[in-house]
């Protein structure tokens, strides 16, 4: 402990590293809690800071991460490391240029982003995606807390559109090196046959790295809701809507709308609903807004899956709803609070 202190103090003393001060500050703050005390009113405060808050998202993602390493091998780890390093460099450069502290939000983005990629994604595509996501998803808006879109989704969206061949047809079958173009949703769309519920639960189907093992995702998501790090309102309304809408839709148009349980357990729905739609910064903050956000996400997801050229709609629906989140809040506040004249 004293050694670490000594080392960090040495880093501060080296003049050549003056430019890297935000980075050293970040290391310092991560190693040691603050020395600052309250100024009174309140005299004592909660023990949780954003570091702990964000690190719990990572803890919740660990089961899904470990499952993906188990299914797809160590290449998953390589992709995660590339995502962290490249994204981290962008974050640090921005902090240095802006002379601001480095924020914790990146720790989450850096892990969520690789988990929504196909396991065979080339490392350079991962790098391009994470740079785009951090740059245009977050830093352009002014950093954590001010971004409109979920940075991981912005990156994913960009490479999906920029490199469609890599991103939509290269799905690795778990435990093998075989490549298939058919995820369960794609199979359903072309042939109408469905993967077994058990396979979907455990993760023995093709899909993005982190989103196939549903048990791990549900476990992590419930953990986040229990610890109050994420709010239950969005995932409940999102998944609930997909289920109800698919149940009704499957009756009316059985050819194009898949049955409810299959809808819930396929694609990125659980991962998206539990880890991406719940991002507090890019979703509405009002309670009614959260419900509406989840319901609209659910409707959009089913519609895109069933009636568009794409097989999966979770990413698009969350990004579209991210853009609408401020409007939803505005409407909810307008309905709830009457203007006052002075």
């Amino acid at each position: 402990m004293k050694l670490v202190r000594l080392l960090i103090d040495r880093l501060y003393d080296i003049r050549a590293l003056n430019k890297l001060k935000p980075l050293i500050d970040a290391v310092d703050a991560a190693m040691f809690g603050p020395a600052e005390t309250t100024e009174g009113g309140p005299h004592i405060v909660d023990n949780v800071d954003l570091k702990r808050y964000m690190s719990y998202v990572i803890v919740a993602l660990l089961p899904a991460t470990l499952a993906s390493i188990y299914f797809y091998g160590w290449s998953v780890l390589r992709i995660i490391i590339v995502s962290y390093i490249v994204g981290g460099v962008v974050e640090v450069i921005f902090a240095i240029v802006r002379k601001k502290e480095i924020h914790e939000g990146f720790l989450v983005t850096g892990l969520i982003f690789p988990l929504v990629l196909p396991p065979t994604t080339p490392l350079w595509v991962v790098a391009v995606g994470v740079v785009f996501g951090v740059l245009f998803g977050k830093e352009m808006f002014g950093g954590t807390g001010r971004n409109i879109f979920n940075p991981a989704l912005v990156g994913r969206l960009f490479i999906t559109i920029a490199f469609p061949a890599i991103m939509t047809t290269n799905w690795q079958v778990p435990f093998t090196d075989a490549i298939t173009s058919a995820t369960p949703l794609a199979v359903y769309k072309t042939t109408g046959s469905m993967a077994s519920i058990y396979d979907l639960f455990v993760g023995k189907t093709a899909g993005s790295m982190g989103e196939t093992c549903r048990i791990a995702i549900i476990f992590g998501g419930l953990f986040l809701i229990f610890t109050k790090v994420s709010n239950w309102r969005i995932p409940v309304s999102y998944i609930g809507t997909v289920f109800v809408f698919a149940a009704i839709g499957n009756r009316l148009a059985p050819g194009s709308i898949a049955p409810p349980l299959f809808q819930v357990l396929t694609g990125g729905l659980l991962f998206g609903a539990l880890f991406m739609a719940t991002d507090p910064v890019t979703s509405p903050f009002t309670r009614m807004g959260k419900y509406s956000f989840g319901i609209l996400c659910g409707i959009l997801t089913v519609l895109i899956r069933s009636f568009s050229g794409y097989v999966e709609g979770v990413m698009f629906s969350i990004v579209i709803m991210n853009a609408l989140a401020p409007l939803i809040d505005h409407i909810v506040l307008m309905l709830k609070y009457r203007p006052v004249k002075i």
Binding site: G33, E36, G41, D46, V48, T144, V229, I342
Partner: protein, 506 residues
Amino acid sequence: MSMQKKLSGIIPKYKRFPRGYEFKNFEGQPEENLTQTGTPARVTIPLRQGFGNEVAPIVKSGQKVAAGQIIGRDDESVSNPVHSSVNGKVVEIEKIDYLGRETGAVVIESDGTGDWQMLEGHSSKWEDLSAEKIGELIYLSGAGSAGTAGIPTRFNSSVIVPEEVENVIIQGVGSQVHNLSLNVLLRGEGLSHFIEGLKILKKMMAGAQFHLALNRSQKSLIKSVSQLLPTDDSINFFTVPGKYPVERDEVLTPLLLEAGFPYGYCTANVGVIVLDIQAVLHVYEAVVEGKPLIERTIALCGPGFMEKPHVKARIGSSLEHVIKGEVNADKNLRFVLNSSLTGESLSDSSLPIDRTFTTIIALLEENEREFLFFVRPGFRKDSYSRTCLSILFRKNSRMFQKSCGTNIHGERRPCIFCTFCEEVCPVGIIPHLLFHYVEKDVIDETLLKYKIFNCVECNLCSYVCPSKIPVAQRIKEGKAKLLDEGCKCPVPSVVLKGVEKYKSVK
């Protein structure tokens, strides 16, 4: 049947309070013993204590005074008399900087004796006293200054008169981090004195409905109170969860009465008087025993005290005199009055104690950096989120009591809209929304629209914020700026009483 009812007593009605936050299992709770601090050699009596305006001194320097003698009184303005708490001689009348404002104070040197002068006309048969006389005894004893609006009597002790009181709420909720133990106040004769005190108040404010609210966790107290309360429904008995800040007047009143509340006004303005248990005991002592308010029971709490007794101290004793011998001198401490969330910081130990003291909390000044702070499991760390392991040890665990120090526990970060502040806000406003407007210097009707004046300044939003934003402080600033620009909170659609009088209380 009626026999059975008498045995089981009155069953309290439970009132759910979905908001707020319960502080559980914090270290430094006071022990259930009571010690006397003895007669101090010198007291400084502030001329404004509790509710009311500052009174003018009616004694001169050099004059001999007796304990219990009125030394400051002003019958014209809304105020309550102030007494000497010791027998002795006035040495000085000075101005002191007291709890954030300049106040006149009378310094008295004590002769060391401990007796006091009784109030004239008190009677152990209080039933025979007229309501008028009871009011006079309450006023002359100084007990009238209790609560945020005083106890109404004929003597300008509150902003309204007894006939205008519609509801009287007596609360022993104790939802703070550290609370005075009611078992200490009500042990032995205390409980029956309290019930008598209630009846005395009821006689004086005959037209009012009485309500008693206790913390639902105080099971044995609830049981004994329910057996002693009159069975004729003249007192509504409630239990509430100990979720901070449910004990605040502006929160408890609408909760118990199931009515709207004109936030920004005092409870007396809607005919409601809120008192705590100690105030009722002061009323009993004044009317039945003839004892003026010259002593307070104060709980010494927090990790900075070695023993944590309740002490009975003469008003005007210096802080030093009250806490001496109990302080852990090795540690860097911060003394806080009554509440770790909203209390004044007591930085000068020569300052006197007054009638408003209930707890003195000694918090640790944690200005040392903790190695790998954010990854430590947190067996002793409190959090609104459930990310610390302290949630596993909530039921009075001696081993893992939560620490309470003044460290801010993290770096300041931008708001991420986690809505913790909204979830805990006791009045249901959206603190982070108001914060953003004030931060951007939008000081206009938008703030009124989002009900900034509903804020009761409980500071809970600042407590729970994981981004360590001083949300409550900004909201307070926003209010102050609005008032500067001449904005007032929108007048509610209720008949307000004594508003002009209340405004005159400085």
